[in-house]
């Protein structure tokens, strides 16, 4: 409560006058950072996407729209679509696997909560590339998973798991799961237990209490987690290249290839700009949904 009153007072004071130069000074590092690493690269990307290239692959700054026209070829559209599906599958699985984990952590006692949170973070201590290579040796035809399943006589012959859509989605889920668990955990932690008890008192069973009270109250965490998983998963290329073997290309892989071996930076830039627009639309849609659902809640 004390916090809130302090905030209120601060709010009325600050609201009455414009931000002075000290505020701008404090903001300066952020503004410089945004300008150098967000605005400038974006401008470069957009300019490149409207340019030509020469025979060695250098960018020639003369205006053309052909790169964008090429983007709408069915080949690239289907890759876009596949990448969205992979990312969507990864997000859904992350919610299904991550929610119970986050809920358990959030409801655990303070001591075990700390231990459980550390366990979630431990994989981050090694590079994701090393962890991905570990998966390759687990999933390959003569790898750990197959030899275990074979020796236990669960499967008749080795399963082909590497270099398939399965291994791509698995790689994405494995790498992005913590990004789902942590935001859900934050909202579970804040969940007011008396509301859950009230639901029970009013006659709700566990399932009803969960679906009508707990889920809506932790929904901001789920939304944040979904965004944190879905957006980077669409554009991811390292995991998908390593675990997909290049025969199930994703849009991130295609863009990376355009900048390297295909030597077509303008086309890669055009695909990149379209990807950014896609994200922008996602954010706008999600934002509008939130606003429209706010009054009814």
């Amino acid at each position: 409560m004390a916090d809130a009153t302090w905030l209120d007072r601060g709010g009325t004071h600050a609201g009455s006058r414009r931000a002075g130069w000290p505020a701008w000074l404090l903001l300066a590092p952020l503004l410089v950072w945004l300008g150098l690493f967000v605005l400038l690269p974006t401008i470069l990307l957009v300019v490149t996407s409207f340019s030509h290239r020469d025979e060695l692959g250098r960018v020639v700054y003369s205006f053309t729209t052909e790169n964008y026209l090429r983007c709408f070829d069915p080949t690239w559209l289907s890759i876009f679509w596949n990448s969205i599906l992979y990312a969507l599958a990864a997000t859904v699985i992350c919610v299904i696997v991550g929610y119970p984990a986050a809920y358990t952590i959030g409801r655990a006692g303070p001591k075990s909560r700390r231990i459980l949170l550390t366990l979630v973070m431990i994989p981050f201590w090694t590079s994701f590339l090393i962890r991905t290579y570990a998966w390759i040796s687990i999933l390959s035809q003569e790898g750990l998973a197959n030899s275990l399943l074979l020796s236990a006589h669960i499967i008749p012959g080795p399963l082909s798991m590497m270099y398939t859509p399965f291994s791509i989605v698995l790689g994405l889920v494995y790498n992005y799961l913590p990004f789902m668990i942590l935001p859900i955990y934050t909202s579970v932690e804040k969940l007011d237990n008396s509301l859950v008890e009230a639901a029970y008192d009013l006659g709700a069973g566990p399932l009803r209490a969960f679906s009508r009270v707990i889920i809506p109250l932790t929904q901001p965490g789920i939304a944040a987690g979904a965004l944190l998983v879905f957006v980077p998963a669409i554009a991811m290329y390292a995991i998908t290249t390593l675990m997909g073997g290049g025969s199930n290309p994703t849009i991130g892989e295609v863009i990376q290839n355009q900048f390297t071996r295909a030597r077509n930076q303008p086309f890669g830039a055009a695909l990149g700009v379209l990807l950014m627009l896609l994200f922008l639309v996602c954010f706008l849609v999600l934002g509008r949904k939130k606003n429209s659902s706010a009054p009814s809640a």
Binding site: L56, P74, I79, S140, S160, Y163, P249, V254, N257
Partner: protein, 358 residues
């Protein structure tokens, strides 16, 4: 975060030292030096220059080598031309040397600084792409051929036609290299290795559309990995990779495709934008030493153009069919030439078919 960084910083040198291992040749009688700062930015193929060779060079000269890898000539070109002078030494194949010379991107070599060039076999000197070796020195040569896991593939495989059959769908690894893939189709259609033009690309398009959907893995960095792990049973790969598999297990056979094969020669060259050209010369001359070149052959058994180094190899190494195929096969082989403008259409065709290959 800081602790993680510190951890990485402490562990990295240990990990690097562990990779280094191996024997290191002692310093030669007269160790030349350079007046530049002790740094060299090396931009080379992945899995091509062993760490113990780089460590040996650093130990002898005190020059720290920063290594960055690429997995195709095209990737190297695009980074080099966009990079603004970061690299001191590059490792392009013959056709890329030709393109770089044409675009005036290479520095003239100082022949006096390369006393060990005498060890290079006569047939690898004065090659058409760089007469007089003004800009490039051969590093290793090799072939692209078919590697077969004979435990899994029982039918005879002699050429591309036997590799790319529906029976092998999902069991094939190929190099992730558009120029290579197109050249196989050109050989298959008997159109000639270097005859890339719009008309011929149209002709091979149906063939590639049949071939590429059969492929499971595209990998230029280490195509041997998926073969070794049993995820694929055969593939079209670099000869050195096949030679390593053969060393490990004789079940991996190597065949030069009956439709035709080509010789590739990878070279060391110095970009015009290099800021440490003297160090780069020192490195090239170091690599040319027979005992150093032998270390490279030990780690990556390609075809060694260094005659004196080849004399140091064991009979087993020389008998490896993927490293040293019959001489008459080699003399028959052509090499790639620069395609100029057409190279863009090669990249485009393969990227497109690969992407739509599902």
């Amino acid at each position: 975060m800081k602790t993680i960084r510190n951890l990485i910083l402490t562990l990295l040198p240990i990990a690097l030292a562990a990779c280094g291992g191996g024997s290191q040749p002692g310093p030669s009688a007269s160790t030349p030096s350079s007046s530049e700062e002790k740094k060299l930015n090396l931009f080379c193929w992945s899995e091509y220059i062993p760490q113990n060779v780089i460590d040996g060079f650093t130990k002898e000269t005190g020059i720290k080598v920063a290594v960055e890898n690429y997995s195709s000539n095209e990737e190297m070109l695009s980074k080099l031309l966009a990079g603004g002078g970061k690299y001191d030494l590059i490792q392009p194949s013959e056709y890329t040397i030709q393109a770089l010379i044409k675009a005036d991107q290479l520095r003239l070599l100082d022949q006096n600084a390369l006393s060990n060039f005498v060890h290079i076999a006569p047939e690898f000197r004065d090659m058409a792409y760089d007469l007089g070796n003004k800009f490039s020195v051969p590093y290793m040569a090799g072939f692209v051929g078919i590697c077969i896991n004979t435990d899994k593939v029982k039918t005879p495989v002699k050429g591309f036609v036997d590799v790319f059959t529906p029976a092998h769908k999902g069991r094939i690894v190929v190099l992730d290299d558009a120029r290579e893939i197109v050249s196989w189709a050109l050989e298959m259609e008997k159109l000639g290795l270097n005859s890339v033009n719009a008309e011929n690309l149209k002709k091979i398009e149906p063939l590639l559309k049949k071939w590429l959907p059969l492929v499971k893995v595209y990998d230029s960095d280490s195509p041997k990995t998926s073969l070794k792990n049993g995820d694929v049973d055969l593939g079209v790969v670099w000869s050195g990779e096949a030679a390593l598999l053969y060393q490990e297990n004789k079940k991996f056979a190597f065949v030069l495709p009956s439709e035709g094969s080509h010789l590739f020669v990878d070279n060391l060259a110095i970009p015009k934008t290099s800021t440490h050209p003297q160090n780069a010369h020192l490195f090239i001359n170091y690599i040319l030493r027979p005992e150093v070149s032998k270390l490279i052959s030990d780690a990556f058994p390609y075809y060694n153009p260094n005659l004196a180094a080849r004399k140091l190899l064991s009979p087993e190494q020389l008998a490896n069919p993927a490293s040293y195929p019959p001489a008459e096969d080699i003399t028959r082989m052509e090499t790639f030439t620069d395609l100029g403008k057409e190279s863009a259409s090669v990249d485009e065709l393969v990227t497109q078919i690969k992407a739509g290959g599902k």
